[in-house]
Symmetry: C2
DNA sequence: AACTCCATGTAACGTGTTACATGATTGC
DNA sequence: GCAATCATGTAACACGTTACATGGAGTT
């Protein structure tokens, strides 16, 4: 039930409508933490309101409903954050590709690794200036919401880019030595 | 449909039964790439066999069925690996916690960040010797299946541990300056 | 004989995605 | 008036988890 806690966390930061929340998932939150569309968010908010975790604060134009966290909701969020389970849910398609890169032919693996490195570089080029702007505006003593998460993204992409380049070198070395411990997946037909 | 490609990738490496495959998901694959239980794997293998992506190689004792990838399956795996989508599926409970750490009171956030750093240290202590063993056995020119993925894990945990310590420092600095840009989630009742 | 591990499966439920549907408001 | 955006929802489907069920083979 992570969606519910994601919503609680966002609402703990500031009251928002289902529409607002669904757009937050389109940003960095959805990019590397958790994805959810409005079709899932709306019913979940209704359910959470029924359970007393959130409440409708205002009803505005176009049927807009603004939700706020209740004390019960805050307690639930804190309890969830403070007790991480041993086996957290992880489902990452990109990491899966990294696992399976060795089932490709070396030539294909090289192309894939290069494209991963480039993709990470592009994300870094987007994120780094953003973080610098935040620090410039708030100073290194300020800590706007999202700054820690953004930094996580930077370090994450940096690590993956470095990994991809390391992996390519290992692959090259293995191929030069004539022993790529893999059963290649060649194109057929 | 990532499960299907995960299965294809594992079977491309070596033929296996549904039981074998389900146990592979219990290791590092499930720990940081993709999770799946046997109850999902068995029906998926049946479906993939119907579609000609895999085939039953042998039927052994206790009804054991060993699957192999077909040429069609290999082509499908290659095609999937070589065309990564713009918005890959990402669902990571731990990263979500990192996003929401700023909705905790500084004292709680500090405890959480410390526990994240410790958890990463523990994983590193487990993985690093494993990778060293592999390199010792295969040499730096050898590349056993899983070596690249294992290295990804090492770099990943290292990055998160460093991030957690950095985040703690930023949090300390912000609190010292008396401005933690967060609405704290305190315990109630 | 009892226990554990191997090995496969079904059914119910929870969660997430895609497609469909509706209507208000704002900017041009 | 038209298009874009805001704003909410439902229904069907896909995917994943938990609980339940069964039985063979090896070990003590």
């Amino acid at each position: 039930m992570s969606l519910r806690h994601a919503l609680l966390g966002l609402l703990a930061q500031e009251p928002a409508s289902g529409y607002d929340l669904s757009r937050k998932f389109e940003g960095d939150l959805g990019r590397y933490a958790w994805q959810a569309g409005h079709t899932r968010i709306y019913p979940e908010l209704v359910k959470m309101a029924e359970e007393g975790l959130v409440a409708v604060e205002t009803t505005g134009a176009r049927g807009r409903k603004t939700y706020v966290v209740t004390d019960v909701g805050r307690a639930e969020l804190r309890s969830w954050l403070m007790s991480p389970p041993d086996n957290a849910t992880v489902r990452n398609e990109t990491v899966l590709r990294m696992f399976l890169v060795q089932s490709l032919e070396p030539a294909d693996a090289r192309i894939l690794l290069d494209s991963i490195a480039e993709h990470c570089d592009a994300e870094l080029a987007r994120l780094r200036p953003l973080m610098a702007d935040i620090d410039r505006a708030a100073g290194t003593d300020g800590l706007p919401f999202g700054r820690l998460a953004g930094e996580y993204g930077v370090r994450q992409y940096d690590a993956v880019a470095t990994w991809a380049r390391w992996a390519r070198e290992r692959l090259d070395a293995a191929e030069a030595a004539g022993r790529v411990g893999t059963r290649a997946v060649a194109e057929t037909g």
